[in-house]
Symmetry: C2
Subunit: 327 residues, 2 copies
């Protein structure tokens, strides 16, 4: 059994925990938290919770440490630091910073014979590897990524910071006409507004000025102004009844041409429809933890991404069985 | 430039030729044929055609030889034999025989420090790697593969062998209701008839007994009897006007559950819609030829499949650029 530790215990960590629980070749031994360890009740029997300050005591007791912190402040510090002592997997998702994050993690891991796989999950992650493979197969073409329908945590948080708002959920929704045009191979040039729309469900404080809140949302730069945004005021009761899930998903579509004169057209499409974003993301992290363990056993050190991992290393099954039943 | 040779010059080989032509890092130098070399006119300027009996004279002049023969009689002989002298890529697609083919090719390639990648294309190939990755991420689930709408060469040939038939095209078509049920996560158990239907366009000899031909098609074991099959008699003129393309495609869909109690549902879908089956397949072979070359340069010898190849090895682009723009 591959011995797994989890750093952090939020939604993503609980998703990882469930994925490990449902796997046949990995076991969760330890969870490390900044909170009071005794306040945390795991779903996994026999796994133990410790404060993160004690984590280095466990460096020989874990095969892979899965980092479940946030990309803004946790992972930029934690991944390079912990890759000195552990094989690590993270879901660092700040696309603009991945290259720098890679450099820092690679240096730590290489210097200590550790293996790190960063930016796993679905975007970056499953979507990225599909973009890369699609482009490699159809170099004369163009790809499009759409997200949703799903809850955006960042946009929901932005609404909650508005004065007079008690709680909110924001759904990102791809625009059907844009999807259809892409699938048709029309290679459209799409503005932000033409690709996605935003739908917000907001619980306001009693007596709050709803017109002002709606206006503050719709005109918020970057977050909402570039999009068609619908705002619905609902009761806390309705929010709790209908909007507590964390669904998400999306589409990667590439259209391209082949033939000496590029006379033939092709469409490749990969899509996800997820009831629970953190549980699916956690399942991806768990698969890459398996690969991380195997690479380290083969002395393949340093920082890796989904681009470096051969599909067989994600699977618990025997290669001969894969050749017989899956190929 | 990676120096490419092609063995065979049918539809698939012409698809490979076009893919190499549209690549930035590979060049086609030689095509080997069983036919009279002077009868073949390539699309690629400067590439030369030789008879296959001379192929061993070129063993130091080619980095990767792409084998474009058929899976029934050509590849079972050619791939193990030519893997003694060349790095090779094939599209061996007899699923039941892949494991044995792998063993024979692996022995030849390992003994001669060559790298072989077998069973590339889209099924086996792109569909296989998606099945494997989907299953690794969502182990508690079920996957389904549908083919079409597209021309099945084998089924078209079977119709042509019937007495009184001049020519024919058979389209394999996935059944919409089955696709919808799978996407809904209903985990249906589907018979052959419930997954696909078959549509045949047949040109009969003048005066042939159409009722008999239709009956022979519809009752043909394995090929048509297990399916709902429609037979349309058309003129040679109509066949040539409307049925000369070789479109194909299909869907791999996995539905699975996550959560400690498997309470959340997810759908992953990968699909292809191809104007030209041989050109798309040829494009996949060309990408794996790039990987084959790189693996051999790294002294990674023996037989490989799509399961062994990391996505980055399919791409002509720099890793740092991939981290910045594609991840």
């Amino acid at each position: 059994m591959i011995r797994i530790g989890i750093c952090g215990y939020g939604n993503l960590a609980r998703g990882v925990e469930a994925a490990i629980y449902n796997s046949t070749d990995m076991e969760l031994l330890y969870v490390f938290t900044r909170r009071n360890a005794s306040d945390i009740k795991l779903k996994t029997e026999n796994a133990l919770v410790y404060n993160i300050k004690d984590i280095l005591n466990f460096k020989d007791k874990i095969d892979v440490l899965i980092l479940c912190g946030g990309s803004r402040t946790d992972l930029p510090e934690q991944t390079p630091e912990l890759a000195k002592y552990f094989n690590v997997v993270d879901s660092f998702d700040n696309h603009h910073e991945i290259y720098n994050h890679y450099g820092r993690v690679n240096e730590s891991a290489l210097a200590n014979n550790k293996t790190a796989i960063i930016s796993t999950g679905w975007d970056p992650g499953m979507f990225s590897l599909n973009r890369l493979i699609m482009e490699s197969v159809l170099p004369k073409g163009k790809d499009y990524t759409f997200w949703g329908r799903g809850v955006s945590q960042g946009h929901s948080d932005a609404i909650r910071r508005i004065d007079g708002v008690l709680d909110a959920r924001q759904y990102t929704i791809p625009i059907e006409e844009a999807l259809a045009s892409v699938r048709n191979g029309e290679n459209p040039t799409l503005s932000a507004r033409e690709k996605h729309r935003r739908e917000c469900f907001v619980v306001a404080k009693e007596g709050a000025d709803l017109k002002r809140i709606e206006n503050e949302i719709k005109t918020m730069p970057d977050y909402f102004a570039p999009y068609d945004t619908a705002v619905h005021f609902i009761s806390m009761e309705e929010l709790k009844k209908n909007h507590m899930g964390i669904p998400h998903g999306g589409f990667v579509i590439r259209t391209g041409n082949t033939g000496i004169d590029l006379e033939n057209k092709h469409v490749i499409e990969y899509s996800l429809k997820l009831d629970s974003n953190p549980e699916f993301t956690g399942s991806v992290l768990a698969s890459y933890a398996r690969a991380c363990y195997r690479l380290n056993k083969r002395n393949d050190y340093g920082c890796k991404t989904v681009f470096d991992i051969a599909p067989r290393d994600l699977s618990p099954r025997d290669y001969s069985e894969l050749l017989k039943n899956t190929l």
